[in-house]
């Protein structure tokens, strides 16, 4: 059995891992640049070519991996706390797919060109629609399995609608853009992508972190949580909105990156004494570390075209999901 470790030690260890990965991510690239030069490039002190490579290519990629990975890990932990199910995750419960559908609509109608805000806003609207349906069912006291299955249905519908859009699209360029984008990637993202997503993700993360105490109380069931002074409806709203902001903004910039929110909280839960509130921050840091690692691995694996990030996380995540289901099944038997 894994013993819970002090919260500070766990967070510091994860933070340190993130720092190391950030450095690796910045140093790694097609053009070999020594670490010292990279640092000077970040500060704008190196030669113009290095500054361009570091600031315009590597910095957005690294920062987005950090932000999106962190927000996905955090959303997973918070959704699991809210729906009281260790299998809940933005991807599994259809929130990511719904966000993707929202964004795909914008691409299809060519609205992305009208304003840079349309894509993230539409993504967040999709995510909000999915999360709201889940929330409405949870309020009506739906069983944990029902909620999960509803999420699966939302995901299925979103993917069907995305396929429909691609089906109806007469423009082969749009189809390939949508298809590539659905696979999820952080390649060639710019500082303006970062600037677009970061505010929403950060606000979403703040809302999710703030829901910790409420999720803790919900461990004892809704009535008891209320009797302990927890504004249960506000906590639910916080998690729903926070998840929508994080996932919607993340998906519109990086496409669908699945399973981060499933893997990370599960690996860390035992270290945090299974307490939903204590799981939040480590899940954010762990999610950031996982996505950075995956993005670094992609750049190191040289197999023809670069692997897409979402493909890699799903390849790792799906077997993990299976294993988790089998284990939960064992516990219930």
């Amino acid at each position: 059995m894994i013993r819970p470790v002090p919260q500070l030690a766990l967070n510091m260890a994860l933070l340190l891992t993130c720092c190391v990965l950030v450095v690796i991510s910045l140093v790694l690239g097609y053009t070999p640049i020594p670490a010292g030069e990279v640092l000077r490039g970040l500060a704008g002190l190196a030669d113009p070519k290095t500054v361009t490579i570091v600031q315009d290519l590597r910095l957005p990629r690294t920062a987005l991996a950090l932000l999106i990975g962190g927000s996905l890990g955090l959303s997973g932990a918070a959704l699991q706390g809210l729906l009281q199910n260790p299998l809940a995750e933005p991807g599994v419960v259809g929130v990511s797919s719904a966000a993707a559908f929202g964004a795909v609509l914008v691409i299809y109608f060519g609205l992305a060109a009208t304003s840079s805000w349309t894509l993230p806003l539409s993504g967040m609207a999709g995510a909000l629609a999915a999360t709201t349906i889940l929330w409405a069912l949870a309020v009506r006291g739906a069983a944990r399995l029902t909620l999960l299955l509803t999420g699966v249905a939302i995901g299925g519908l979103s993917i069907a609608l995305i396929s429909l859009v691609m089906n109806l699209s007469s423009n082969p360029w749009a189809i390939s853009e949508i298809a590539f984008w659905l696979m999820g990637s952080l390649k060639d993202r710019t500082l303006s992508d970062l600037g677009l997503a970061a505010p929403f993700i950060l606000i979403g993360c703040a809302m999710l972190i703030a829901s910790g105490g409420g999720l803790e109380a919900l461990t004892l069931g809704e009535d008891t949580a209320r009797s302990l002074g927890t504004p249960v409806n506000r906590v639910r709203m916080q998690v729903v909105l926070g998840t929508s902001l994080c996932v919607g903004a993340g998906v519109s910039v990086a496409g669908a990156v699945g399973f981060v929110g499933l893997i990370v909280p599960h690996l860390l839960r035992a270290f945090t004494d299974h307490a939903p509130a204590r799981l939040l921050l480590p899940s954010a840091l762990g999610g950031a570390a996982l996505l950075l690692t995956a993005d670094i691995a992609i750049r190191l694996i040289a197999v023809g075209p670069e692997l897409q990030l979402g493909v890699v996380t799903s390849l790792i995540g799906a077997p993990f999901f299976f294993a988790l289901i089998f284990r939960l099944q064992g516990e219930q038997a």
């Binding site: 819970p4 109380a217 069931g221 302990l228 002074g229």
Partner: protein
Amino acid sequence: MIPLHLKGVGVSLRGRAILRDITLAVQPGGITALVGPNGAGKSTLLRASLGLVPLSSGEILLQGRNLTAVPLRERARLLAYLAQGHHAIWPIRVRRLVGLGRLPYRGWSRRAAAMEDALVEAAMARCGVMGLADRTIDTLSGGEKARVMLARALAVGAEVLLVDEPIAALDPRHQLEVMAQLRMIARGGTAVVCVLHDLQMAARFCDRVAVLAQGRIVVAGPPETALSPDVLRPTYGIETVKIQIRGQQLPVAWEVTD
């Protein structure tokens, strides 16, 4: 001052009257039992007292103040609730679970942490679960879990403790333990309200019994009068006999009347 006073309380859910004209003054330092057939409105009465369901009529006074006017957090400090079933979703450790009882007091300052820990330990000690402090909740037996949940409710340090069927799924020994603990808590000055199905436990351990039927209080008074055959016959549709054991009168459900 009466810690919890229900005055003419009515509750309707989806147009159906669940509680009608309930008037009950809960006294400190004793246990008030709520008994009655299934569906009589006992659990709803507890939930209404917590402010979890809206009233259709009447009012509830918490220490003389209208319950709806008392802020959530303050309400949570004055009223503790022990739900039926003792479920905890995540397998957290007992110490942390009991500590959740201190949520109404949790703030940004870490200064009081040592004092908070002491209060949690005191609650665990009073319920005899100190030895379980580092076990996770999923590894406990039913009786252990019941005591841990009671410690959680006790950790709130509230003036009023509302308990919903605390002994429903327990073996006789654990039933006696939990009832004795509730009595000890009441003797410490807390007003305990307890939903019970076991009439003998109600007669033995409770100071006052309120009998509910079809959303109304039929009788409220000392166990001897409230649990008399004449009250129980129409309420449950059963014939009871009274037995005398060690100077105490206990009702025994005997047969169904028609």
